[in-house]
């Protein structure tokens, strides 16, 4: 089983991304998946979590996700508010929205233990493609490129199913742009 934790702020789509990933893996990828948010009141701007679980057999576990195969951070400023590294497995992947390069980030010793680190300036792509700083589908594209958890085409199908019609084409473009950029850097 793969367990994925999404870090975002209320209103910026972290849980939608968790749902997109699990929807893509299950309905379109033919596997089993779960998605759930950090339970509680929703407050715009407050730190929130989203979780996805993906497996080849039905998922019965209803406890919180403790150990993560992948952590995706939509907003770099969250790193000063909470421990985004918590529970990340030794061989786990971290995907971070940051204008800094991977090498620059690795000067921070907290990143030293992260085997599979991907940094992407998702906000720039969002402003360019979506004309808005919403990075959830961009970070989904980056995470898929970094981990091959699911097929990128399945993520596009999930966007078509889940997102409002006027947002689907631009978000698929943004997802693909992030996917290509990360794959280009780590072929």
């Amino acid at each position: 089983m793969q367990e994925i934790r999404w870090h975002g702020r209320g209103g910026n789509g972290a849980f939608t991304a968790a749902r997109l990933l699990a929807l893509a893996a299950s309905v379109y990828g033919g596997r089993y998946a779960q998605a759930f948010p950090s339970f509680g009141p929703e407050r715009r701007g407050a730190p929130v979590l989203g979780f996805s679980r993906i497996d080849d057999s039905p998922i019965r576990d209803h406890s919180e996700v403790a150990d993560c195969d992948c952590v995706i951070v939509l907003d770099e400023t969250l790193m000063s508010a909470l421990d985004v590294f918590k529970g990340l497995k030794a061989n786990g992947a971290m995907v971070l929205n940051s204008a800094k390069t991977k090498a620059e980030l690795q000067k921070d010793e907290r990143f030293a233990g992260v085997k599979n680190l991907t940094a992407l300036d998702a906000t720039s792509i969002a402003l360019d493609v979506l004309k808005s700083p919403i990075v959830n589908t961009i970070m989904l594209g980056a995470a898929i490129a970094a981990t091959d958890m699911i097929a990128v085409a399945d993520a596009e199908s999930a966007i078509d199913e889940l997102m409002p019609r006027h947002l689907t084409e631009s978000n698929k473009l943004a997802l693909r742009a992030a996917y290509d950029k990360v794959k280009g850097e780590n072929p």
Binding site: Y32, F39, R60, H62, S63, E64
Partner: protein, 402 residues
Amino acid sequence: MTKTQKGKGRFLSGNEAAAEAVRLCGPQVIAAYPITPQTTLMEKLSEFVAAGEMSAPCKLLLVESEHSAMAAVMGAAMMGSRVFTATSSQGLLYMCEMLNYVSGSRFPVVMANANRGTATPWTIFGDQRDSFAMRDSGWIQFYVESGQEALDTILQAYRIAELPDVMLPVMVNIDGFTLPHTYDLVQVPEQKAVDAFLPAFKTFNKLSLEAPKCMSFAYGPDYHLESRCLQQKVFDEAVGVIERVDEEFYGLFGRRYHGLADTYRCEDAELVLAVTGSAAGTTRVVVDKLRAEGKKVGLIKVRCLRPFPAKFFASLNSPQNSCKVLGVLDRNISFGLEGGLYTDAKASMYRPGAKINTLGFVAGLGGHDVSKADIEVMFGKLANLAEGKPEEEHQFIGMRWA
């Protein structure tokens, strides 16, 4: 597996799955208090009603309180309508008075409850103290493990509730926040299959101008005891009905939940944990892990709190049963005694002279996670008792201090 849908299903939250079930059952009247602690279940249903997507014409009444919501569906049931409402935590407590009116008058109201803790301390997070507090309200109470089971149990609930020999209200408990907000693959049956399973609601227990009668009236002491005895007998009848309806459901839909209580890997299990709701799923995972380590452990999933699977628990205490120690996980507590499920399980197992080795665990209150590690700790304590090591009979699990 299922005969009604290709593929593994749709990706729905527990609340969406429950709403799909209600849509398919086609209640004519839904009443709800639309503000906290209402959940997205009612939000989804209001969308179905507005879009005309319910399987039968439906009037959605938004009322000023949960007490009124239950009163409104009782009024509609009194006219012979199929009805639905949903609530959670404080809302359920606020309904308490009307729950008893509905059950005593034998109206087959079906309600979904997103289990959450009760104030104070104020909490919006999950535990089962709300519904356990309503244990004696005369309602059949189901607890479900997944969104799929929420959907399927609501279908079964209408079938059971409306049978002329039953005519009892049914509460379907869905562990909040966990299940209502967890998205998972869910098979949504075809309308045709649901219609074959659930016939149109017909009842003599209603008001009519052609045959005027008085309903929900007062009894003097002369008939009261006998009427309560009849109410109890109906619950005895319901045991068989619940099992039968589950079998019927299996024949049509290919999924079943085994009546009042299900078991997992219990055939030769010596250490068994009884659980309600979403924690049953997590316990399955732990049982698999411990079995792989060679430990003889098993799970009992208690699906019905009322009627209680008393005969099932009694059978654990027979010499033929492999069970050496039974643990019970309660996501509720009856202050001054212990967890409610534990009390009922122990009482059901009691026989003069029989040795009962049991431990009662209270965990997962007010949204506290019931982790796999916590469940392993519980099985460890059952093992200790089996080996003759001392263990306190009642324990809180998962605390950082005490």
